[in-house]
């Protein structure tokens, strides 16, 4: 049943990487229809698919709806909207493409970003009769921000203009002017009717005046991505492995190339080291590697970089700055203001940053920029980020994959994309938010105290024994020379949190403050015991976000009956008699930890034994590592 090509021949077919092409445009300007038609006219559909589309269309009382091909999710078909980007491999005369279909609806901007971010070229679909609309401008702005410079404008539905040359050319001109404002060159402008296939894969006989290429001819002309191998070396460390007594530094080369014997500089510590070998498995031995490759190298001397460290050559260092100007596309539904803190993820590095200034905001109605106090929901702006430490980076340039970061919030959600522009000077009038980093290191503090800092978060019902245990453990640890502090719910509420009540929002704020205070104490090297009901998993997750990996959740677990019987503060009685409301366990939920670091069942055990268990758990957690001890 098959043509039997010799394998020597097939292995030479399609060797170039596929070219991603994103299709964007205002809702209802015909993107999905265009893709369906394109796949059909170029013979890229499997058997039976066309029949399936015709049947699906008929069932819904429509004439053949090419967009059904992509909108293969039931929910989308029923609503007629594309909810998420789809990637479809597509073959055109031996050249491979990946078509990315991005949704046009505003609220789905993040899906569009997901689809469009790695595209080489874009097809901007514009309804010739309607002209550019709000999403046309928004998408064009995005193409500009993510650095797509090869833009093909497809003026769709020209049948509605009766294929009239003057009208079509007027529409073309107005779109070109709009894109020019964004520094986006239009590579080509093609009048077409996707529904009927005019100028898609075959030349339309309705527009003899049009001499330019069809869409398929235009796609064939999209340039191949430029090689990043000739740029200066950038290898962000992804991870460090130790396998069988050998240490490997793993990462993907973002720019340039490296060879065995090269001397590289490691990150901000500026330690030099030599590439001793490039390790691999089931691959011919390598003495060099270039941009795009995922490698594992051994270093001489055997220094240990951290994830996020940037390896580069001595004479071609990246930019080093702690205040960075960046473009921003903002994905959150609420506005962004100066002073908000995030993590900037840049390749494999993660830096704590604060928005120090909003330099300008883009007005999406006319693409002009204005000085704004905030970046609106799903808006575009230029901002300045300030970090506590020096960040090594390269400004983003189209055709490179690094030099652009994402902002993540405390819940680890990606809330923005940030192509970096360059270092920022401190201008007069900027709100001077610039977190300072301490020169006393965590190791220094740990060595001086004989133990590391840590936070132990005791959660449980009122009366389960959190405060009692926290205090007895504090005493026991202090007697052994541990620098220990207790943050107790009632103590906090008497002072720092006395403005807060017991609504869910106030309880969350209470948890946030406790976690922030615990963080400061922990960073100063102390062992912190937090005794807080903290009934909601989401609140404890927030605490974990603030405190990071050094957060140990301790579940102080006593059943409700026991707690109610103990009732040391008379609160259960008050809740039962209706004197107080929203009391955890009575008329407000307690969500038990799923995977606590330590689970203490206090209904049965004695305070002495629980104290012992908790104290030894804490000592084990904060004890110095062998290396630190040896050096102290």
């Amino acid at each position: 049943m098959t043509a039997s090509l010799p394998s020597s021949l097939t292995s030479f077919v399609h060797q170039e990487p596929a070219t991603p092409i994103v299709i964007v445009g205002h809702v209802d300007h015909g993107k999905s229809t265009l893709i369906g038609r394109l796949l059909h006219d170029t013979d890229n559909l499997p058997d039976g698919k066309v029949a399936q589309i015709i049947a699906s269309s008929k069932k819904r009382g429509l004439k053949t709806e090419w967009s059904f091909l992509l909108d293969s999710l039931q929910i989308e078909r029923d609503q007629g909207v594309t909810v998420d980007s789809t990637r479809i491999p597509f073959l055109l005369d031996k050249r491979e493409f990946v078509i990315v279909d991005a949704p046009g609806h505003r609220q789905f901007l993040r899906n569009m970003i997901t689809g469009a971010a790695d595209a080489e070229a874009a097809v901007l679909v514009v309804d010739a009769a309607e002209g550019a609309r709000e999403q046309t401008r928004r998408h064009a702005m995005l193409l500009h921000l993510i650095g797509i410079r090869h833009v093909i404008v497809l003026l769709n539905k020209v049948d509605l203009l009766a294929f009239d040359q003057a009208k079509i050319e007027a529409a073309e001109k107005s779109v070109a002017e709009l894109l020019k404002k964004l520094d986006l060159e239009v590579a080509l402008s093609i009048p077409a009717s996707a529904r009927d296939g005019d100028n898609i894969a075959s030349r339309s006989d309705q527009m003899p005046w049009y001499k330019g290429p069809t869409l398929t001819e235009a796609l064939a002309q999209v340039p191949l991505p430029a090689s990043r191998a000739d740029l200066p070396l950038r290898l962000p460390v992804q991870d460090v492995y130790r396998f069988e007594d050998k240490r490997y530094v793993a990462g993907r080369i973002e720019r340039g190339r490296l060879r065995v014997g090269d001397t590289v500089i490691i990150g901000t510590q500026k330690t030099p080291a030599k590439i001793a070998s490039i390790a691999s498995w089931h691959t011919a031995p390598q003495v060099s590697a270039a941009a795009g490759q995922s490698v594992a190298v051994t270093l001489e001397p055997d220094v240990i970089p951290d994830r996020g460290d940037l390896l580069h050559k001595q004479d071609t260092p990246p930019v080093a700055a702690s205040r960075i100007r960046t473009r921003l596309f903002w994905l959150r539904q609420e506005p962004l203001r100066v002073g908000e803190s995030f993590h900037l993820r840049l390749a494999t590095a993660e830096h704590a940053v604060t928005v120090a200034a909003i330099n300008s905001v883009v007005n999406l109605d006319d693409l002009t920029e204005y000085a704004g106090e905030e970046v609106p929901a799903e808006g575009f702006a230029e901002i300045t980020l300030a970090a506590a430490e020096t960040i090594l980076f390269d400004a983003f340039a189209p055709g490179t994959a690094d030099g652009r970061g994402v902002l993540v919030d405390r819940q680890q959600r990606i809330v923005g994309g940030a192509p970096l522009l360059g270092p920022a000077a401190i201008a007069e009038g900027d709100k001077l938010i610039h977190p300072t980093g301490s020169t006393v290191t965590e190791q220094d503090r740990a060595r001086a105290r004989g133990h590391r800092g840590g936070v132990f978060w005791l959660t449980g019902l009122s009366g389960s024994g959190k405060s009692t245990l926290a205090r007895t453990t504090e005493t026991a640890l202090f007697a052994e020379g541990v620098d220990v502090t207790v943050l107790d719910g009632d103590t906090l509420r008497a002072g720092l949190c006395k403005d807060l009540g017991f609504s869910e929002a106030d309880r969350t704020e209470n948890v946030r403050r406790a976690a922030e205070v615990a963080r400061i104490l922990r960073d100063a090297g102390q062992v912190v015991l937090v005794a807080l009901i903290s009934p909601l998993q989401s609140d404890r997750a927030l605490a974990r976000q603030i405190l990071g990996e050094e957060f140990a959740e301790v579940f102080v677990d006593a059943d409700l009956a026991t707690c109610e019987q103990r009732d040391p503060k008379g609160l259960y009685a008050a809740a039962r008699s209706g004197k107080i409301s929203a009391f955890t366990g009575i008329d407000s939920p307690y969500e038990a930890p799923v995977r606590p670091a330590l689970h203490l069942k206090t209904s049965a055990g004695s305070v002495e034994s629980e104290t012992k268990t908790l104290a030894s758990f804490i000592k084990e957690t904060v004890k110095l590592s062998g290396a630190l001890k040896a050096r102290s």
Binding site: M1, T2, S4, L5, S7, T10, S11, H14, E16, P17, A18, P46, D47, G48, S56, S72, L73, Q74, I75, V83, D84, T86, R87, I88, P89, E96, V98, R110, N111, I113, T114, A117, D118, Q238, D239, Y241, F243, A250, A279, S280, W281, H282, A290, G292, Q293, S294, R307, A401, R404, G405, V406, Q412, R413, I414, G417, R540, A541, Q545, V594, R595
Partner: protein, 264 residues
């Protein structure tokens, strides 16, 4: 770098991200061609070893050749193999069509393994070109405590920055083969010499293009009995890869319903 080199480098990057960010982590090994490629890529990423367990969620209804393959290669590849079982079909949603209902057993078996081993990351070998709903997937796809796939509320994913778990009880499905196509898999198998169950090669005019449970998978007509012949066949074929998988075709949305509930 050619196309396969690029795909390999990207998959290695993804596997290393998963290993760094998600603990505990495990890889699903269905014994099929894609998951063998995935094990191979893990060995590339971690210099000859797979530093996390490999799980086979066993429906008990696979082909005997597949079990023989599992026993042979779990040893040869030095895999830390975890076996899971699936509940009987009677316990599955009776409103699903018969084959989808049978396939749902695997979802339940997988959910139990994720629970038992408290997994934060599960690496699975799905590809975008297999099926419309899989084309919508993320490389790192977060699942809530109920393991449901919230297709309407997927996180943004771009510039190789992936979602991380931020709530207790949630896990991430990691898809290192998402950008691979069927023919890439075969060309890579040929290039690397990756072993396969021989059910993929034609005998008596039939071969399996995709392997699942014995009772809901059917072979396709083919005379392709070598790797080169399979590749040549795929370059000209016009039928879809999963045409032999019964649960994909029972009703328009049967497969989507399976996936939303946590199927791969």
């Amino acid at each position: 770098m050619d196309h396969l080199d690029q795909l390999e480098a990207q998959s290695v990057f993804i596997l290393r991200e998963a290993y760094r960010k998600l603990k505990p982590l495990a890889m699903l090994w269905s014994l099929g061609k894609d998951s063998n490629v995935m094990v191979w890529l893990a060995k590339k990423a971690f210099l000859g070893r797979v530093p996390f367990p490999v799980m086979h969620v066993d429906t008990g209804k696979k082909f005997p050749e597949m079990y023989a393959f599992r026993d042979e290669y779990s040893k040869k590849w030095e895999l830390d193999l975890l076996l899971g079982t699936c509940p009987p079909v009677e316990e599955m949603d009776p409103s699903l069509p018969p084959a989808a209902r049978s396939a749902a057993r695997k979802t339940a078996g997988l959910a139990a393994m994720i629970e038992t081993h408290k997994l934060q990351g599960v690496i699975a070998g799905i590809r975008r070109d297999e099926q419309g709903t899989r084309a919508k997937e993320r490389v790192f796809s977060p699942r809530g405590a109920s393991h449901k796939w919230d297709i309407r509320n997927q996180p943004p994913e771009f510039w190789d920055q992936y979602a991380t778990p931020h709530e207790e009880g949630m896990h991430i499905r990691v898809h290192p083969l998402l950008s691979w196509r069927e023919i890439d898999i075969w060309r890579y198998i040929e290039r690397e010499g990756i072993p396969l169950v021989d059910l993929y090669f034609a005998k008596n005019g039939k071969r399996y293009r995709s392997l699942g449970d014995q009772d809901i998978t059917s072979p396709v007509e083919s005379n392709a009995s070598t790797l080169a012949e399979v590749i040549a066949e795929l370059e000209t074929t016009r039928t879809s890869e999963r045409s032999g998988r019964a649960m994909d075709h029972e009703s328009e949305d049967a497969f989507e319903r399976l996936r939303v509930a946590g199927y791969l």
